[in-house]
Amino acid sequence: MTELIETLQFVYAPQVVNGLAIGVAVILMALGLTIIFGLLDVINMAHGEFYALGAYLGITLASKGVNFWLCLAIVPVVMALIGYYTERALIQRVFHSKDRHILTLLLTFGLAIIAEDAFRLAYGPNPYKPESPIPGASELFGMILPNYRLFLIVAGSAIIVAVWLVVYRTSLGAMVRAAAFDRHMASSLGVPVSKVYAGTFAFGVALAGLSGVLLAPIYSVFPTMGKDFILMAFSVVIVGGMGSIKGAVIAGLVLTQIQSLSSLYISPVWGDPLVFGIMVLFLMVRPQGLAGRLGHG
């Protein structure tokens, strides 16, 4: 009996809580991706590199003596500007052509490759790891949990709720959803559609940059870091339903828990195939995902 309690306490419970921290990280990545897809119909292959850019901006500011909390505020603003002008300068140019899907996919894919090499040139191939801004660990019911991960769970959840509120409870959000649903109608009703598009792209990019700063103390910063979460984030977006915030949250939590708990029983190498298997199943059986598209209910 005590053995069972010990297993629950030392093996399962920490597994679930650790999985939760990873889940929040994945959802933060998936949110930006799903919003950009849901509204712009653009699959942003460079999303991971925007995440990396956020992290690199964070360590650059930190090396100039800016403290971590200030970085958390500055980086998303800078990233939003970068995102806004990326959309206006590059994506809008190919957005209205017939091969929009292929062209934007190739464009963002190219951006990703250039960005990765640019990081290598600017910062070198070796990894950086910022010090944890909240060091130490707390004991909760016999589980030892790093304080920073607890903070990540709380702060990440707050960001997710805030994003949901902005999209579903503000007039700005209503404009965004209207533009996603029918851009000609929205535009004839006076919604500045092209600005809304650029703004939404900027918002998604800012979220990626914010995740970069938030996650750097745990996962370190290096040129190929953009590839880290991106596959998992794409799976979450597909399983959750492309463009759905609610779907991304549910899928993000479920998929990371599956991965975390399965690693107790099967070789951890099977974690990724398991998740991608679920994604393929969804594509076959329920291609619209758990919930529908943004602006479509």
């Binding site: 093996v11 070796n126 660990a137 975390s260 990724d272």
Partner: protein, 393 residues
């Protein structure tokens, strides 16, 4: 691009032919072919190889060369690719007529170049490759290894561990591919043979981002020692996450020689402190020969020597001692002289084992203290080298 490379190779081959006309064996300078990665991922290692060899050759030539002949090195870039290494080695033997070949880094290149040496009836030595097979089941009568093999590193570490914590319980975490599985298996065998008890193992995917899903199992197994062979950025994450979860304080963390290196030490920071590994060299080694070597190396190249630099420096003295003993560069006589040869290096006296061409040398357990490796114990070479498993000669 491919055509360009071929054209360049042909042009280089012609130039080399013209330059080398008139140079015959036993006269003129002794030529050492060095096939080493000068570009690409392993360029950093190739740089140390070149620095070590150039420094040794300068010293040898300043003192009159070998048997009165000057020594010169001819470099070829192998790009850490066995196919390229074979072409370049063939070219060095056939066109440049080198007397001896060294420099290969990647174990696959060393094995392939050994066969080229056999065909050309010349001798070669590696100063870097770790794979046990080179002086084990894939040994070659024409290939020698002057550096320590992987098995010697784990034996040294296991030796230190059981002395420090007799009957220690050990947990293993490696990356899930050939290198990870073989390093864990080798260390496990060495540790269990010396009385340690294994309490669990897990293999994480390469480039794993979060190790916390494994911490519950590790904590439940309550090991005294945690062995790891993850490398590069994986080590950064693994060690910093261990200390984030407060696990690093509860157990002694040990690992493979390639896990914590100069490249990732900075990013790991404080979380690397206390990490112990088995190694064949540290620039901190306290003996007069090493102090002089480190000072000369720093003076000449404005950089600190590492394991690869010192072994590549040492191979030139190995060759010099053998030629002086054989009084010729004739392959068969030289091979006989190399077998059982004892020579001095900054790492101390080394002995070339006749049965498998593996150098026997003292090994060390080294610990990270404030971002630097410090020697904490010495394991005699005989205890670390293990049995001779070569059956080809």
């Amino acid at each position: 691009m491919k055509h360009l490379t071929i054209a360049a190779a042909i042009a280089a081959a012609f130039t080399a032919t013209f330059i080398s006309t008139g140079a015959h064996a036993q006269q003129g300078p002794i030529k050492i072919g060095v096939v080493t990665p000068l570009t690409g991922t392993y360029a950093g290692i190739g740089q140390q190889v070149k620095w070590g060899i150039d420094l040794a050759i300068k010293e040898i030539n300043d003192k009159g060369g070998i048997l009165g002949r000057k020594v010169e090195a001819i470099y070829e870039d192998e790009e850490a690719n066995p196919n390229v290494a074979v072409q370049k080695a063939e070219k060095l033997f056939q066109v440049s007529k080198v007397d001896f070949l060294t420099g290969t880094v990647n174990s696959g290149s060393t094995l392939a170049v050994g066969q080229v040496a056999e065909r050309n009836q010349r001798l070669a030595a590696t100063t870097v490759s770790f794979s046990d097979a080179i002086t084990g089941d894939k040994c070659s009568p024409n290939m020698f290894r002057v550096n320590a093999k992987a098995g010697m590193q784990s034996a040294a570490l296991a030796e230190w561990m059981v002395k420090e914590k007799p009957g220690a319980t050990v947990y293993y975490l490696g990356p899930d591919y050939e290198m990870g599985r073989s390093t864990v298996a080798a260390f496990k065998a060495a540790a269990e043979a010396k009385g340690a008890k294994s309490v669990g193992e897990v293999f994480a995917p390469l480039d794993n981002k979060d190790y916390s899903p494994f911490f519950g199992q590790i904590r439940a197994a309550k090991p005294q020692v945690l062995y790891t062979s993850v490398a590069g950025n994986d080590t950064v994450r693994f060690l910093s996450q261990l200390s984030e979860f407060g696990l690093a304080k509860q157990m002694q963390i040990v690992g493979a020689a390639g896990s914590v290196t100069a490249q990732n030490m900075g990013a790991i920071g404080k979380a690397a402190d206390g990490y112990v590994t088995g190694a064949a060299y540290s620039a901190e080694l306290d003996n007069p020969a090493n102090k002089k070597f480190v000072a000369d190396f720093k003076n000449t190249w404005k950089a600190e020597p590492d394991l690869y630099g010192v072994d590549s420096y040492g191979v030139m003295y190995f060759y010099k001692a053998a030629v002086e003993k054989a009084k010729t560069t004739d392959t068969d006589k030289l091979r006989a002289a190399m077998r059982g040869l004892e020579w001095d290096t900054p790492q101390g006296k080394k002995t070339m084992r006749a049965g498998d061409h593996q150098a026997i040398q003292d090994m060390y357990a080294v610990k990270v203290v404030n971002g630097k490796f410090q020697i904490i114990s010495k394991v005699p070479g005989e205890a670390a080298v293990g049995a001779d498993t070569c059956t080809k000669f």
